[in-house]
């Protein structure tokens, strides 16, 4: 067993220090510390249920070694919003009836946040490209699409960082 590394990560706006094994993935570290919103769906970097933001970019935390987050900023679903202060996309998903089993939703929210933070008015093709890495087996994406289009129509929901 390798010695643990000491990692400095700005997690959801707060500077934190973690001990992690060199081969530990960021998702494992997050879940070990009680942040259970990001999910293990495949551990293959395909389903996107583990999506978090690393310096504002959506990444698969199931594949990312935790040590690569050292010195960086990580945002998880827990840092995006709550029922009182939700991200507009969370609000829209709830209103659209887009949350079925919900397992993919945290990842969807983070990918959409990354998309909207970069471009509050994306074209449809850009949405399809940026949301391509988050799989859902329940909804057929129809209401997820509706919710995202509603947020964009209302201005894109940027700048509402709860963190």
């Amino acid at each position: 067993m390798n010695d643990p590394l000491t990692l400095h990560i700005r997690l959801n706006g707060e500077p934190r220090v973690f001990a992690a094994d060199p081969d530990e993935k960021l998702l494992e570290l997050l879940r070990r510390h009680g942040l259970k919103g990001a999910k293990f769906g495949c551990r293959e970097g395909v389903c996107g249920a583990c999506t978090v933001l690393l310096d504002g970019r959506a990444v698969y935390a199931c594949l990312l070694p935790a040590c690569l987050a050292d010195g960086h900023e990580v945002v998880t679903i827990e840092g995006v919003g709550d029922q009182e202060h939700p991200h507009p996309f969370q609000q829209a998903l709830v209103e659209a009836g887009a949350v079925q089993c919900g397992f993919c939703i945290p990842g969807m929210v983070l990918s959409a946040k990354a998309l909207l933070d970069e471009n509050p008015q994306p074209e449809d093709e850009e949405i399809r490209e940026k949301m391509d890495g988050n799989l859902c087996r329940c909804t057929g994406y129809e209401k997820i699409w509706t919710a995202l289009k509603a947020v964009i129509a209302a201005g894109g929901g940027g700048g509402e960082d709860a963190s």
Partner: protein
Amino acid sequence: MKAERDFQVVNHSVRKVDAWQLATGYPSYTADLAPAGCLHVKMLWSPHAHARLRSVDIAAAERMPGVRCVLYHGNVPRHPYTTAGEGFPEPSPYDQFVFDRKVRFVGDRVAAVAAETPAQAEAALAAIRVDYEVLEPVLSLEAALAPGAPVIHDEPDAYLPIPMPYCPQENIVARVGMEDVGDFADGLARADVRLDQTFETQYVQHAPMETYVAWAALDGRNRIQITTSTQVPFHCRRLVAQALGLSVGQIRVIKPRIGGGFGSKQEVLLEDLVALFALRTRRPVLWELSRAETFTSGRTRHPIRVRVRAGVTRAGALTALGLDCTANTGAYGGHGIPVVMCCGSKVLPLYRAETVHFAGQIVYTNLPVAGAYRGFGATQAYFGTEQVMDQLAEGVGLDPLEFRLRNHIRSGETSPVFAALGEGKEGVPMTIGSCALEACLRQGAAAIGWDRRRPHTEKTGRLRRGLGMAALMQGSSIPRIDMGAASIKINDDGSFNLLVGATDLGTGSDTVLAQIAAETLGVAVDKILVYSSDTDLTPFDVGAYASSTTYLSGMAVKKAAADARGQVLRVAAAMLAAPVEGLLLEGGVIRAAPDRSVTLAQVAHYALYERDQFQIIGTASHVTEKSPPPFAAHFVEIEVDTWTGAIRPLRYVAAVDCGTPINPKLAEGQTEGAVLNGISFALTEQYLFTPKGRLKNASLEDYHLWSLRDKPPIQAILVSSFEETGPYGAKSVSEISINGAAPAIGNALYNAVGVRLHQLPFTRERVWRALQSHAPE
């Protein structure tokens, strides 16, 4: 009845009760809730499709770092059982054991390790020494049914717990069927156009985003608490008790939020072992399957070969409709019998045929294990029958839409198939109550622009478009078998706890059931606090399968809420010194006159604290006499690239009659999700095997689930009807819409390019080859 349709809560798209907790990432799922300090389980899976275990040596593994327990056939109880979660006695063979001395597919259980970390458990697997006597694998229906084929289930203690012959010596679980309705041979002979075609569906998997996961821990009184991602908590409790030789009372099963199921979790695959490890180690034990393990060792859809024979007169009347189904159940037989019976019972009654034939058999092979999958046999059978309907229509010069409008079953009609085919036994006679299929056909056709449809002979060029359709039905619960129960009690503030055994696997059933309770009690839906699926605390329910929850459990909720409502009114009558009959309960207030009223909170307070105290609590159970079919008409437009064979779906319309949609947005969501799964089933999804029976594409990357980018626009149209036997007129909606895409796309393919495929999926290569061998007309 008119008044009953003026709904306050039902038929409104209220917010899903768990939407916020899930959208904000609150820890809600099985793995999220596992306690710190769990042991982790890893399984040594069989590398062989068919082998006997001469010996298994666990001594070295037991000495590995962090290892706390190793289990294999030599140190566990041996009780035959089925992993299929169905009502007792299950229509599935007891052909499984916690561990056996034989392995029957690549991915079967050999031995398991519980260790302090997943890595330690994984490392210990390599130290287990197994001496396999490799046997000839049986990897196809032909091989399984050949004379002298190796016998897959030669263990003497397996049996079928229902009165039906079990034939493992022939690699057959059972043969099912019914007496022909009328003279089927004569029906075919009398037809002006008759068809005899065989269709075949492939191995596919549900692939919910959450894999199989469960954990168990002993409580202070040594009872086993299992928290698991299951669709069938009560069946799970019973089957774990059976597999381990325990009593049901020793086990508590809790289902938290589930990350999808679609039938895959109507199966008890992990719970026996986490329970046994917890008993042996007295530690909490967690077992999560990886995605690859879920593909290989989880459950799949039965591949079924369906021979369709049908005949029609020149006038467009069906004289004969018959199905012969041969299903591959893989290494174990769970769900095979009811799946094949549903090939008949959920499909044949859709059309008024003068003569009807149905027979089926369920065949063992050394391939992955099939089980329950949304659609449950109907999906496989509709693939062929709905393509045959199009061909019959063409044969007598009728538009496919017109053909279906003339021949489909209607309200007030019956089919002898309902009485003949149940699930593991005979069925229950049924007259169709609500049926809005005609409206579904017309509205769906209008939405897709069916009148644009032109024959393939008029189409030229590289890219050719086609329109296709399919008509569908399913059921709502299993009559005289399934039972659901509910109880509801009032709290001091006039809120109610609704306790149901029913199992929300992401469908929204907790919300739908809360709406039914709120409607009955005259309160807003947020006054109903739902708690579901905990075998210690909630009443029994068969679980989430057979499209039963809204129709069956919903009626139990309605009855329980009506019971509680009656108690509320009696208390209010005493408080108001007014007769019960004149009271009006609405918006949480009970009125005797405009100026004489009490609130629900006052009633609760009175009953709990003030006078003749008692708990206002209603309890009810429900068993159905019918399984009223939802109906649907699906339409698709596709574009076929004749150079590559690629089929691109452009637009999909699903018009569905689910009775009263209790929550329209959730009903649409069920439809949209089922449609997309149906489309990928039709076009891309399939298991690929090596010649030795190993699954080659056991990853999401290689199997490919469709993304937001892949999907076509899907339009769900809810066409209301009112099912008198359902809660507030509701029928089921969850399964039906997975059945349409395969035949509708098959019909659209023919309409585009004039070729018809009998094997799924419609891969580019398969389409391209068909185009090459298709003689130009």
